[in-house]
Symmetry: D2
Subunit: 311 residues, 4 copies
Amino acid sequence: MTYTFLGPAGTFCESALLTLPDAVREERVPSTSVDTALAAVRSGEFEAAMVPIENSVEGGVSATLDAIATGDALQIIAEAVIPVTFQLVAREGITSLDQVRTISTHSHAWAQCRGWAEKTIPGVEFLPASSTAAGAMGLLDAECGYDAALCNPLAAELTGLDVLAEGVEDHAGAVTRFVLVRKPGKIPAATGSDKSTVVITPTVDHPGGLRELLDQFATRGVNLTRIESRPTGTSLGQYFFSMDLEGHLGEPRIADALAGAHRIAADVRFLGSYPSATPLSSPVPVHASAEAYAAAGEWIRRLKHVASGEA
Amino acid sequence: MTYTFLGPAGTFCESALLTLPDAVREERVPSTSVDTALAAVRSGEFEAAMVPIENSVEGGVSATLDAIATGDALQIIAEAVIPVTFQLVAREGITSLDQVRTISTHSHAWAQCRGWAEKTIPGVEFLPASSTAAGAMGLLDAECGYDAALCNPLAAELTGLDVLAEGVEDHAGAVTRFVLVRKPGKIPAATGSDKSTVVITPTVDHPGGLRELLDQFATRGVNLTRIESRPTGTSLGQYFFSMDLEGHLGEPRIADALAGAHRIAADVRFLGSYPSATPLSSPVPVHASAEAYAAAGEWIRRLKHVASGEA
Amino acid sequence: MTYTFLGPAGTFCESALLTLPDAVREERVPSTSVDTALAAVRSGEFEAAMVPIENSVEGGVSATLDAIATGDALQIIAEAVIPVTFQLVAREGITSLDQVRTISTHSHAWAQCRGWAEKTIPGVEFLPASSTAAGAMGLLDAECGYDAALCNPLAAELTGLDVLAEGVEDHAGAVTRFVLVRKPGKIPAATGSDKSTVVITPTVDHPGGLRELLDQFATRGVNLTRIESRPTGTSLGQYFFSMDLEGHLGEPRIADALAGAHRIAADVRFLGSYPSATPLSSPVPVHASAEAYAAAGEWIRRLKHVASGEA
Amino acid sequence: MTYTFLGPAGTFCESALLTLPDAVREERVPSTSVDTALAAVRSGEFEAAMVPIENSVEGGVSATLDAIATGDALQIIAEAVIPVTFQLVAREGITSLDQVRTISTHSHAWAQCRGWAEKTIPGVEFLPASSTAAGAMGLLDAECGYDAALCNPLAAELTGLDVLAEGVEDHAGAVTRFVLVRKPGKIPAATGSDKSTVVITPTVDHPGGLRELLDQFATRGVNLTRIESRPTGTSLGQYFFSMDLEGHLGEPRIADALAGAHRIAADVRFLGSYPSATPLSSPVPVHASAEAYAAAGEWIRRLKHVASGEA
């Protein structure tokens, strides 16, 4: 498999890709945007792309949500959840925090670590970089005009720079969720702890439509872990919903709920089933188990057999 | 086909049976109770029994509801809705209302016509009969100790007695619904205007269980026209529900809703699909049509085919 | 308080009345039917009537359900749940089962004890009585034509007859629930374990109406312990629902749910709140507690105060 | 009232502000970001700020959704929906399209008009501007390095430049919705066509929580026109919902639904009721009307009065 990801190299997205044993052994080529990465998959240039889909602080990544919801079909085959944690790395010769005068990093990263930096290194100056990885790489240059950089653990490791401090983000616990996307094909086997992603466009101008949609999942014992509305682009108040479900297309309750959604919605796009990177939040109710489906199906078949007069 | 019905001959139940062209040509044998009639079907003595299931004034007929819900399986293959209307028939020689001194009929019938009788024939006396038909038959006897009888139109016709007045019930519009029951077998073909009867026993001690059950039907666009709770006999508050649905087992939405009920309930007993005797109250929603089911099923099949890696 | 009950004296209904300390000390006058008993309350002849409302084997008592749902308003102020258990009492001189040749009792009671009787006293004969109490009373007569009677424990005690066997019913555990009814007035104080009874008539011809009704209760965390449909008498398929709820009118969630039902239904008749005779089946959800209602109410008041421009 | 808006002057946001007669007469000061504009309202520097909240193509404006959902309370008192339409204006001396060689505008605007531009003016060159208004203003400079600018009608009017073409956007019909925000206070009187905005944070880790929330609105006949999930920032899958409802806090159904949401949710923030800029999509159901609420409230009061024993 050939891989691309939202670059540059050394960012959280490459960390996400490196959670896949396969991707560790293969070439990983950074793309400059989510759209570019997904276009490269659609065109066949790469077989798979790792892109961010959701951040615990920023929310859904609109570029990804919209790009996989429209255009040629794509499929999610894996997910990774990566802690958003930062380290302070320094150029050669700088070995303690009190020697640091200037820090470079991406402005987003600076926003997330600024409290720590200003408190720990009074008077420190900030120099914007085009990415956290670029800030770290710059320190390898002898002519580098700053002393240190805030970057993720992968960039620190790749550059081999000295780490002066780690876990310096002001709010601990933030994570970003990434998904590995490729052209539609065989889906990963069910593991018993799987998620599915689906995009549903309700019929137009139908008050209560979202509730009816949720009913289709609730009556089949299917739990939603993420639901986001995105505009269809036609007019205000016209949305499609991007959702993650706990369960795998191979489970009858999931296929049944999706069929139910298909009947009441204007459009349903199935985006794949894949192993969940985190524990599921709710067990499968007994009434929605594969056994319950098999028993009900067998009961209906018997009823119809008798009803056909052939019994 | 051999028929029995809740007797005696000439009652509303025989009128119901006579709505079936087949039954007009065949022998019709009265049974003395609903239980007797259904036992005779179960034992094979008769092929089919017509019994009352619901009256617009008295409500569900518990004997029928309980007898078809338990014991050996039975199946409803037809229904008939008969107006509860009474005529006053007289013995030979009595030709006008002012000659009538005494009226005999079943006490239920008297209760339903008493207002008319006491107003129209001041001072009239009431003599209880074992059935409305028996009251009418008695008038054929020369020794008959009363002048007139309140009976249904069929008994009036069978006895050939003079009808002094018709439509004499105090509250017009009452009807009784009867069902034709036989052993399970081939079900009547769908006509586009069908009903199905089902008995559902919820799981024990589950608050909100009825609402969840109704959700299974509502999410598949299935309308309920009758729902009655009957005790399971185990303890207070433990019920089964006897329900009529608009639709036929052959429709995918009905089979789907029944399968959903089967998964969440402790027990579901299907009691048949049959042509509705009255117009249906709600059309099939587009999302629950056979076409919507076919399209959703085909969509899921395609998804699974791609997912299997064989596409 | 003056009391009547569904007689005759010594039946289960008097046992139910005797669970009330007050009623033990007062005169208790039997009525010959539920309608008679309730009419006597409506007319003011008696202040309260104890009548059966529900049996764990036979289901709802239609006469009671219909009589309290229509006509002048009535109110339930207490309930009692009485085990349906039978004793075999004998006339003087009969001291063991093998001396018994003939048993008298009401045919319903015989149906419930017949298995035991025919197995324990082979060849025993049954003589119908007008009530179980009447059968027992007859044994006090020197001329009595039978040896023993099946009656409830109260009749056995009242007559002082020898008890040859007890708990002889074929199916143990059956109970009947009785309610004490009077004209509307002060309702019993909340005990923390209360029920309320309500009669709701949905708007006509509204598919899905029952589900919407149940939603009104479910969204306020109100649990239903009994729901029965009874015909309104207008046409087939037109029902009112008789329901018992866990909770007391004094609780905001109950008043709120009733108000919700009042808005969507054609008619709601409140039939009282009273201490439950049995433990409740579900706790009050936190979100439906009086505290949650008080907090939400206070929040809305503050919002409106700010919104009024007077803040 | 003193006004700020998301600047610079002459953008769609100022157009939105100009839909308010009051704002036309007052000074309008541009802010450089949504956060800056709202901070200026919170600090008291300005009394009200107009900011974008939703675009029919781009979706919710996260900066606005998040800023009004957290921090010191704010209130929406008006909304405006502005068509996203572009005009091509030219510098002095350029009077026809075939004279245009270079066009400047904001890159977003270029993306929305590029199809038209490249087809209509083959070989045209694009020069990025910091805003559409800035691009237009630049044309007033004698030294201007480009021939024309794509801007909105307001900027065209403010600059007095010649309009060579209008409605040149590739996809017609796009609109942006803006809201006028100030500190909490008196809310606009109900007009009969009002919306309310609310932010609801469900309790943590509660499968089915969104459906229960929607039930609170549906059972009170309240229609949602917008629902968006935004991360609470604590962990993946923890969201708050930003919603618009049809209706005004002064309507009992709205206050009732909000109180219901308050009881089941972890937090509810009311963000105001204001006249809707567009026609409402669904009428108030009869059962949710102020009359139905008044009748139900009066019924409950009477019940409680009788129940108190003071009747």
